[in-house]
Amino acid sequence: MLMHRKIFAIAMAFAAVHCGILFAGFFAPYMPSAQHREHAYARPTKLHFVDAQGQVHIRPFVYPSVPVEGEGFQYREDPSSGYPIRFLSRKSDGIHLLAVDSQADLFLFGTDGYGRDIFSRLLFGGRISLLAAMVATLLSLLIGVAAGGIAGHFGGAVDAVIMRSSELVLALPWIYLLLAIRGSLPLHVEPTRTLILLSAVIGAMGWARPARLIRGVVLSARERPFVSAARGFGASEWYLLRRHVLPQTLGVITAQAVTLIPQFVAAEATLSFLGLGIGEPVPSWGNMLSAFQQFQTVSSYWWMAAPLVALVAVSLTYFVLADALHQAGARINSGQSYA
């Protein structure tokens, strides 16, 4: 019962995050590439409930922010007039959950160096980043499980060939290969094609490590007594691999998946650097994070770490969810086998 409640809570959080990302156009107050050049590097907008006269409002409101003269990217609130947050308001580009009148701004997570709303970019960027990272993770795990499983279970020459090729993949100077890929592509690549390309490149680069890990688990699993017993009863090697050995690797796979997703989101930033990732002004968590690599951003504009926080939170949700599902699955499995 407790377990179910936990899974339910996590699943809700998971759904909320993905809903926000999937329906970014509705949840985001602005278009992700809309520049508010007068408000570059603005701090997150403060939501007020109490006005200058001390009166309490149920509906939160914001004050417009004005640049402080002579100071770069410093703003102050102008408390002379407040603007209430409007829910479900209709604008030219559709219905938005949250909005304020155009005289004020609603930057929930602040703005970046172009005055673009980070909250909106986070939601829109999540689409590309999470999708690409998940597809890439799936791809690299599929290849990794197949390669590692076969290598570990069959051993011998098969093992040697697969493991040497995984070492080759790890040792390849990928950066030159990527530069060559970039050189062979047209300069402007449509976002959907970029997405496929990204997933393929990252997935193809990332399978070697999981393969090696899984090979290790398989190596130890196939020597377990119950596997030997099944072999003794005449089970085929494929049956053993499928029924007894690979299920043992499930824990490693989930753990790998959860660590690979954030890694791949960050890898996309590296690819953007080579011109292979998502280009400006289209947001992705990777390219949003690349701005955070600079000293001045870390020291002066802390709110630009939002994608980092989002990434950690999302990865954690995945992890807990995968873990809970795994445990629940194990319980059901064991229940069945003793019945």
Binding site: S33, R37, E71, G72, Y114, L187, H188, G279, F295, S300
Partner: protein, 592 residues
């Protein structure tokens, strides 16, 4: 208590790094009779101390003839001297190893008198032979010196002839307007150390980072002491240096300059803020606000030297391309070639936003190739048209462009106007400029994509493959004289970016520009030459081969301890007067 004192002393030593640079620099040599010293007008300082400088990258070589990278030039410039030097603050020439020079009446030959009694940093006397040898090396095609082009006038290299031990005559095939500026940064080499390797054809290997310090000598204020790969390079005082202060003390004041290799600008800033380095040379405007906040607490001063000579610009691919190979670009080129299209783009670009967002306000918008930082040569009469989307649209309409019902711009064949801008992904400012431009041009209905690429990939596309639509780049920073930019503006120049392989001028205005530039090259009188160059600037601004965007300010800093600190908007912004810099003695707090 005593233990605490020792620990704090050790800690302080570790922080300031004094343990590793415990100075053993040679004392300045006594001034000899007949030694023709140059007297510095700077404030009289005191001897001693190590100036620590953080460098973003390691120098690649110590060879002044072949060095092209900034870090190498920054180090070599302190070890070597030239005949005539450009004062980085006044931007005028002043005597260096040449005590005087005279131009012949036909403007074709210079007679240079060398300073008497000068010695190299190993004590060996300097003479006209060294000068003749140095020019022989610089002009040798086999050595591949990047300076060779600058020393070639009217297609012929200049020639150096020894008249006597202290006189050299330079002959040129035609009068040369930049005159003695040509000698700036041409390092005079020690013939006694390098002749052998030059004659054996191994000159390039003679002055590497691995060369033993005692086999390298120069005429600059410092000489090599130590190089630790990946860590630092230390220069020590040249005890024979040929400059003295007003009180007759031989310069330089500093015992040593230590260059630490820190990796990148962020590390450079952190080291400077922590007091580990004493000066910071040219940091990006993005970092200014954060550094300025700490100015008081940490005891350093930042200096905004105003606009640099760097001009950033957008340009289009106007190369003659084989249409079968570059179908897409060839289809777009008729737009790019139309002056009204380029004018419309120039009018639509919000330069003030570029200055504000890319440079944090520390820069200036520009409309020509000479920035306000170049006070001697800027044409102040150039128009600065205000941004205007309606005017830009009118221009496009007059050029036959139209808009569909969604506001997308269509060309004469009613195809949408869409192109990409490439720029270097390692330069955050230029990526920002390109992104802002793409947003501005969306207001004209153009669909513009920004593709940041790795720097070498950008260079390759611009210089070699010509596979690009448009590009944002920056140039400038070297000399203020117009001649430094000849390779960009002459139609056959090696950096004629927008049309790389022109054998003859592709357009009438380029022919006119060539003629103007060739004329200014041989016009000796400044006023006349300036008039011609003004005309050239106007011609460039009217024809927009580059759409000029903005110039960043030069930002530098030094700890309060550094005296005679006179940074300049020309390279090497901070260390150009390293011979005059000294460290103010502060009460040594831990000496109790």
């Amino acid at each position: 208590m005593r233990k605490l004192a020792i620990i704090s002393l050790l800690a302080l030593m570790a922080i300031s790094g004094i343990d590793s640079y415990a100075s053993s620099a040679p004392a300045p040599e006594r001034i000899q009779r007949g030694e023709e010293l140059q007297v510095s007008s700077a404030e009289v300082g005191q001897y001693g101390g190590t100036l620590v400088v953080g460098q973003r990258a390691e120098p690649k070589t110590l060879n002044p003839v072949t060095a092209t990278d900034g870090p190498s030039r920054e180090v070599i410039g302190r070890m070597m001297a030239d005949l005539v030097h450009i004062n980085r603050v006044t931007q005028q020439t002043e005597p260096a190893l040449a005590s005087s020079w005279k131009l012949s009446t036909d403007g074709r030959s210079f007679t240079v008198k060398l300073r008497q009694g000068v010695r190299f940093s190993d004590g060996y006397p300097f003479s006209a032979d060294d000068v003749v040898f140095s020019f022989r090396v610089y002009l040798d095609e086999k050595v591949h010196s990047p300076n060779r082009d600058l020393l070639t006038i009217g297609g012929k290299p200049i020639s150096a002839v020894k008249i006597d031990d202290h006189t050299v005559r330079f002959d040129m095939s035609q009068p040369y307007a930049a005159a003695e500026r040509i000698f700036d940064s041409v390092a005079i080499l020690p013939q006694h150390l390098l002749l052998k390797s030059y004659e054996q054809g191994s000159f390039a290997q003679a002055l590497t980072l691995n060369t033993a310090p005692d086999t390298i000598a120069g005429l600059g204020p410092f000489r090599l002491k130590q190089y630790l790969p990946g860590q630092r390079l230390v220069l020590e005082r040249n005890p024979f240096y040929w400059k003295a202060d007003r009180d007759g003390h031989r310069l330089p004041y500093l015992d040593e300059i230590a260059f630490l290799f820190v990796g990148n600008e962020d590390a450079q800033i952190l080291r400077f803020q922590s007091g580990e380095t004493s000066v910071i040379s040219r940091f990006s405007p993005d970092n200014y606000p954060a550094m300025a906040r700490e100015q008081q607490n940490r005891g350093y001063d930042l200096v905004d030297l105003g606009p640099s000579l760097e001009y950033n610009f957008l340009f289009f691919n106007l190369n003659e391309l084989p249409p079968d190979k570059f179908q897409q670009i060839s289809r777009e080129q008729p737009w790019f070639r139309d002056l009204r299209f380029r004018q419309a783009i120039s009018l639509a670009i919000d330069r003030r936003s570029i200055v504000k967002l890319a440079f944090g306000g520390r820069g200036v918008p520009i409309w020509g190739n000479v920035t306000p930082g170049n006070k001697l040569w800027i044409n102040r009469e150039l128009p600065h048209p205000e941004r205007s989307i309606p005017q830009a649209k009118d221009l496009l309409r007059s050029a036959g462009f139209s808009w569909d019902e969604k506001g997308k711009l269509l060309d004469l064949e009613r195809k949408p106007v869409e192109f990409t801008i490439i720029t270097s992904s390692s330069n955050a400012q230029r990526v920002k400029m390109a992104t802002l431009i793409a947003d501005d041009l969306a207001q004209l209905g153009m669909s513009v994509h920004v593709v940041p690429l790795e720097f070498r990939a950008v260079m390759d596309r611009v210089f070699q493959s010509n596979d690009y639509d448009a590009c944002v780049l920056g140039l400038g920073g070297g000399d203020a004289d117009p001649n430094g930019d000849m390779n960009v503006w002459m139609s056959n120049g090696s950096t004629h970016l927008w049309n790389m392989h022109e054998t003859k001028p592709a357009t009438p205005w380029e022919a006119e520009l060539d003629a103007l530039l060739n004329r200014q090259l041989v016009t000796l009188e400044y006023k006349k030459r300036k008039r011609i160059y003004d005309e050239a600037q106007a011609l460039i601004a009217n024809n927009l081969p580059f759409i000029f965007l903005a110039s960043p300010n030069v930002l530098v800093g030094a700890t309060k301890q550094v005296a005679n600190f006179r940074p300049a908007p020309l390279e090497p912004y901070v260390l150009w007067n390293a011979d005059e810099l000294y460290l103010r003695q502060q009460g040594v707090a831990t000496a109790k």
